[in-house]
Each structure stands twice: as structure tokens, then as C-alpha cells.
């Protein structure tokens, strides 16, 4: 007998139930802004190997969620079968991810961070949201010829533990190793850019100093 999820929104009914989701969203939006993601420059910087905030936040969140869900499931506090996990469509998610990735570096945001940017009066975030609406509408207009591809390679609720036939703990370990390797690489790159930023200024100071001495 597991205790969660308790489906608080159903217990409260409307409109109070909506407030539960709004409260979750509030924390989500607050944390995105606090992480620096109201500014697209902080988001795309990882793609130029300059600032690794995005993978640090993202993989910390994923690892916390993986470990927490595994733990709460094992303790029978949370019934994981009652959670709506995203299903898998191999090719649509591969191609969709690539197109989304193009939009990510061209536009500077993803949908959630663009909202956080736009509410803080960043006009580039607002322009991204306008484009997002056009892209979503465009996909709907072009839906009929795309429908076969959109529904292709469906694999249902495909997870790594189920697919590989291993304990989720091993998947958690692999994800942790991957994330920590990424963090380590990111820290080295950030240190490299910090040194590079400091170095020319240092040379300039050295070359300037004798000239100033000569003037005086």
C-alpha cells in the first residue's frame, strides 16, 4: 500500500486544485530566474563552452529526481506507476530534438525560460514566445502530412531499466557518472575562459606601466 501521489487537485476540486499547479509553477519559474535563465546569454553559453549553468542545473535536477523517485518508490511512499511519464517515439523525438536544438541556440531560450524572460520585460524573450506560437500553429497546419512520421516508431512507456532489464540503480549510477564527467569538463572550461579573460588585461597592464613611468 503506497501513500502517494495523493492527487491533491482532486481532493480540493476547482478552483483550489488549480492553485496547487500554480504553486508548483511558481517555484519552477522562481528557480529558473534565480538560476540565470531569464537571460538567454546564460543559456546558450554552454554551446560555446563558456558557461555550464544549463547542464549543471539540468543534470542536478535530473539526478535528484531519479534518486528521489527511486528512493520514494522503494520506500513505497510514491507509486511510480501512477505518474504520467513521457512515452517514447524514437524518430519524432530525435528529429524534434534536433529542430528544437537549432531553435534553442538561434533563439536563446526554451519555452519555460522564455516565459521567465518575457515577464521580466526582455523583448528578445517576448519575440521568442511570439515565434513559438507561430511554430506551434505552423505544425498544426502541416499536421496531416506529418501525422505518419509523428506517430512512427512508437515504443510506449520505454525506460532504460525496462529496456535493458537492469535495476534502476545502475541507470542512476550511469547517469551520475555521465553528469559528473560533464560537470568536471565544464569546470575546466570555465576556468580556461577565466584565465583567458585575465591574461590579456595582465599583459596590457605590464606594457602600460613603463610608458606611464616614462611620462612622469
Amino acid at each position: 500500500m503506497t501513500t502517494g501521489p495523493i492527487h491533491l487537485q482532486d481532493l480540493l476540486g476547482m478552483p483550489l486544485g488549480a492553485l496547487v499547479f500554480a504553486a508548483v509553477g511558481f517555484l519552477f519559474g522562481f528557480l529558473l530566474e534565480r538560476g540565470g535563465f531569464g537571460d538567454g546569454r546564460n543559456i546558450v553559453a554552454v554551446l560555446y563552452l563558456r558557461d555550464f549553468r544549463v547542464p549543471k542545473v539540468m543534470f542536478s535536477a535530473i539526478l535528484t529526481l531519479m534518486a528521489g523517485a527511486y528512493l520514494l518508490g522503494a520506500l513505497r511512499v510514491l507509486d511510480l506507476t501512477a505518474i504520467d511519464a513521457p512515452h517514447t517515439w524514437l524518430l519524432p523525438q530525435l528529429v524534434g530534438g534536433l529542430i528544437f536544438g537549432f531553435g534553442f541556440v538561434i533563439g536563446g531560450y526554451c519555452p519555460g525560460t522564455a516565459v521567465v524572460s518575457a515577464v521580466n520585460r526582455k523583448l528578445d524573450g517576448l519575440a521568442y514566445l511570439a515565434g513559438l506560437v507561430v511554430g506551434i500553429a505552423g505544425f498544426a497546419v502541416a499536421y496531416d502530412p506529418l501525422a505518419d512520421f509523428y506517430n512512427s516508431t512508437a515504443r510506449g512507456a520505454m525506460t532504460f531499466p525496462g529496456w535493458l532489464g537492469v535495476n534502476p540503480g545502475w541507470v542512476l549510477l550511469a547517469a551520475a557518472l555521465f553528469a559528473f564527467a560533464f560537470f568536471g569538463f565544464g569546470n575546466r572550461m570555465e576556468a580556461y575562459w577565466a584565465r583567458k579573460a585575465a591574461a590579456p588585461a595582465g599583459r596590457e597592464a605590464e606594457s602600460k606601466a613603463p610608458a606611464e613611468e616614462a611620462r612622469s
Binding site: 502517494g4 501521489p5 487537485q9 499547479f21 508548483v24 509553477g25 517555484l27 519552477f28 519559474g29 528557480l31 529558473l32 530566474e33 534565480r34 538560476g35 546569454r41 553559453a45 563558456r50 549553468r53 549543471k56 539540468m58 542536478s60 535536477a61 535530473i62 535528484t64 529526481l65 531519479m66 520514494l72 510514491l78 501512477a82 505518474i83 511519464a85 512515452h87 517514447t88 524514437l90 519524432p92 523525438q93 530525435l94 524534434g96 530534438g97 529542430i99 528544437f100 536544438g101 531553435g103 534553442f104 541556440v105 536563446g108 526554451c110 519555452p111 519555460g112 521567465v116 515577464v119 520585460r121 526582455k122 519575440a127 513559438l132 506560437v133 511554430g135 506551434i136 500553429a137 532504460f160
Partner: protein, 174 residues
């Protein structure tokens, strides 16, 4: 490291990530659902097209589910969540002294270029998110944390696409 709400510095990214993970876990326990952003944007879009072309929208293969059995497209948990996301981001931005009208861009980019590329990037992200059935929050964080194979394919493809395109738009950012 002190954690202050009225803070002009961004918080430690590991701390923000762990907190985000805990928020999603809390959402799982309370509601049985995670988080997401693009789904709500799709419902807003469908609501908008429905004002202009109700019959087309209700017959459209991608939008008709939002109106299933007379449902209102905005009466949905993701939409309530998005409203909260906007308010939470606004409160954090005001407390952090970052709420001001501006166009954020790299040192070499003009305003027009930045706004044009932001709009174009939004279009691509909209198409990609609908095709992949989610974005970086719903697919990436929630699906990634639940060990979904499709979510990890999406996430790796996002980074691959971003790295592949980064060189072409470097004038905008560096």
C-alpha cells in the same frame, strides 16, 4: 554560500538544480504530475486559432484533443502551472533587480538581428517541441528523471542540434 531572496547574484547552479528536482518530486507526491511548458503554449495557441477559426481548430489532428468532449483548452493543469511559472519568474526578477525593459544580446549583435533571430528560433522550437511531444522541462527534466529512453534521445538531440548550429549564429552571442 548565503541564500538571499533579494539577491542580485544568481544562485549556485547545483543548488538550483537540486531544488528543481525536489520541486518535481513534491509535484509527483501531491498531484501525480510533473512540470512542462510547451504543452501550455500549444493550448494557448489553439485557444487563439479557435477564436479565429473554430471549426478548423476543432477538426485539426494536432489540436482537436484540447477540445475533446467540449473541454476548454485552457482548463488544464499545464496552463495553471504556466501561470505560476510566469508569476514566480516575475517575483524572482523583481527581487533580484533584473526586471527592466531591454534586449539581451551579445556584444556584437544589433537589436534587429537579436529580435529577428529570437523570433526565428521560437518558430523552430515550437515545431520541434510539438514533434517531440514536449520541451526541455516536460521531456528533458521529468522524462529524463523517470529514465524515459525517448526523453534522453530528445535531450541529447537538443544539445547536438545546438552545438551544430552554434557556429552559424556566433555573431549574435560572442
Amino acid at each position: 554560500m548565503p541564500i538571499r531572496l533579494r539577491d542580485r547574484e544568481y544562485w549556485n547552479p547545483y543548488l538550483v538544480g537540486v531544488a528543481l528536482g525536489l520541486v518535481v518530486l513534491l509535484a509527483f507526491l501531491l498531484t501525480g504530475k510533473g512540470i512542462g511548458a510547451s504543452g501550455a503554449m500549444a493550448r494557448l495557441t489553439a485557444w487563439g486559432t479557435h477564436l479565429v477559426a473554430p471549426d478548423w481548430t476543432e477538426a485539426n489532428g494536432n489540436f482537436k484533443w484540447f477540445f475533446h468532449k467540449g473541454a476548454h483548452p485552457l482548463d488544464y493543469w499545464l496552463v495553471y502551472l504556466l501561470v505560476g511559472t510566469a508569476i514566480g519568474g516575475l517575483v524572482s526578477g523583481i527581487l533580484g533587480g533584473r526586471n527592466r525593459t531591454e534586449i539581451l544580446r551579445g556584444p556584437r549583435a544589433g537589436r534587429g538581428l537579436r529580435l529577428g533571430l529570437a523570433f526565428a528560433g521560437g518558430i523552430l522550437a515550437g515545431v520541434g517541441a510539438r514533434l517531440a511531444r514536449g520541451c526541455t522541462s516536460g521531456q528533458g527534466i521529468v522524462g529524463g528523471g523517470l529514465m524515459s529512453v525517448g526523453a534522453w534521445i530528445f535531450l541529447m538531440a537538443v544539445f547536438a542540434g545546438g552545438f551544430a548550429m552554434a557556429w552559424f549564429v556566433r555573431r549574435q552571442w560572442t
